[in-house]
């Protein structure tokens, strides 16, 4: 397998993991959603969207501490991630 194909395959898998995580989240299967987002993070630890989604699931489960960590990570990677910023500010009480 050449390097280019390997990268594009990885990207595709990451995207499908995120989509699957979102699917579980929308359907209220929070623990399964967390599993998928964590797998996506293993493949690419620098995607702001994944951390935002993981934060969202933790917040929905009322695990505020973990949610905050994930939103912080998301904003650190992409300071323009508006949704992550909004949720983070709400949690901190701004």
């Amino acid at each position: 397998m050449n390097k280019k194909k390997e990268i594009s395959d990885k990207k595709e898998t990451e995207e499908s993991l995120i989509e699957l995580g979102k699917f579980y989240f929308i359907n209220g299967k929070y623990d399964k959603a967390i599993e998928e987002f964590k797998k996506a993070i293993e493949l690419n630890p620098r995607n702001s969207e994944t951390y935002y989604n993981l934060g969202l699931v933790y917040e929905a489960k009322n695990n505020i501490e973990e949610a905050r960590k994930m939103y912080e990570k998301s904003v650190e990677i992409d300071p323009n991630n508006k949704l992550a910023k909004e949720h983070l500010e709400k949690i901190v009480g701004l």
């Binding site: 929308i26 209220g28 969202l56």
Partner: protein, 231 residues
């Protein structure tokens, strides 16, 4: 119905915000401070903003104190000024007086002078923060009586996926669920995920409890404690 009249004396953070919220809620608010800058800042948000010394009885008299429904004494820095203003308000016939206190001595003096309510924001907030740290599953607590509380708590794991009836919260714990707060996930128009908060008032016995639900319950302290232990 005529609008309720409020007089807020002292425009620190507390006084300023009380005055603003009251106006937002449609009340008539007179805001007073000796600091002209503070008065100017609040002027656009209240009915009337005045730079004056409220410890001066003549000034308070000029405001027709008998027409004032609630006087809020929010003087933070000087205990003496706060006490004087409270005394004058009482003597001039302000119907109800609320005093923001800085310490317990201040609270006791104000109560003796006839304050109808003492608020102690620092102490109240400290209690809340401490309670939140000790039992993180309890989000809010309102004491109805020494025995009965209204409590907001995260749904215990054991009950996730069950209906209220199956969870036997009422029959086994003598606890009534007043409302369920739920974060409902959805996709935005641009395909992003988010959730909105919904509240189900007076839920039915067949309503199911979901992961992440927050239950607003009413019951005895000891029963709520028992319910909480179902993690």
């Amino acid at each position: 119905m005529t609008k309720k009249q409020f007089l807020v004396v002292g425009l620190g953070t507390f006084g300023e915000n009380v005055a603003k919220y009251l106006t937002e809620k449609g009340a008539q608010v007179i805001a007073v401070d000796t600091d002209e800058k503070k008065v100017q800042n609040i002027a656009p948000f209240v009915t009337q903003a005045l730079t004056a010394d409220a410890t001066d009885e003549k000034f308070l008299k000029s405001l027709n104190p008998k027409d004032i429904d609630v006087g809020i004494v929010a003087i933070g820095e000087s205990l003496e000024d706060s006490v004087l203003v409270t005394l004058h308000m009482k003597e001039l016939g302000v119907k109800k007086i609320i005093v923001k206190c800085i310490n317990q001595l201040h609270a006791r003096i104000s109560a003796k002078l006839g304050a109808d309510r003492i608020v102690y924001p620092e102490l109240e907030m400290a209690k809340r923060v401490a309670e939140g740290l000790i039992s993180p599953n309890i989000l809010e607590e309102i004491e109805l009586s020494p025995e009965y509380n209204i409590v907001e708590l995260i749904v215990p794991k054991k009950f996730i996926g069950k209906t209220i009836k199956q969870a036997k919260i009422r029959s086994e714990y003598n606890i009534n669920i007043i409302a369920i707060k739920r974060k409902v996930p959805y996709l935005t128009d641009s395909g992003e995920t988010d959730f909105k908060e919904e509240i189900n008032i007076a839920p039915l016995a067949d309503d199911e409890l979901n992961d992440g639900d927050i239950l607003v319950v009413i019951g005895k302290d000891s029963d709520v404690e028992r319910l909480k232990k179902n993690e």
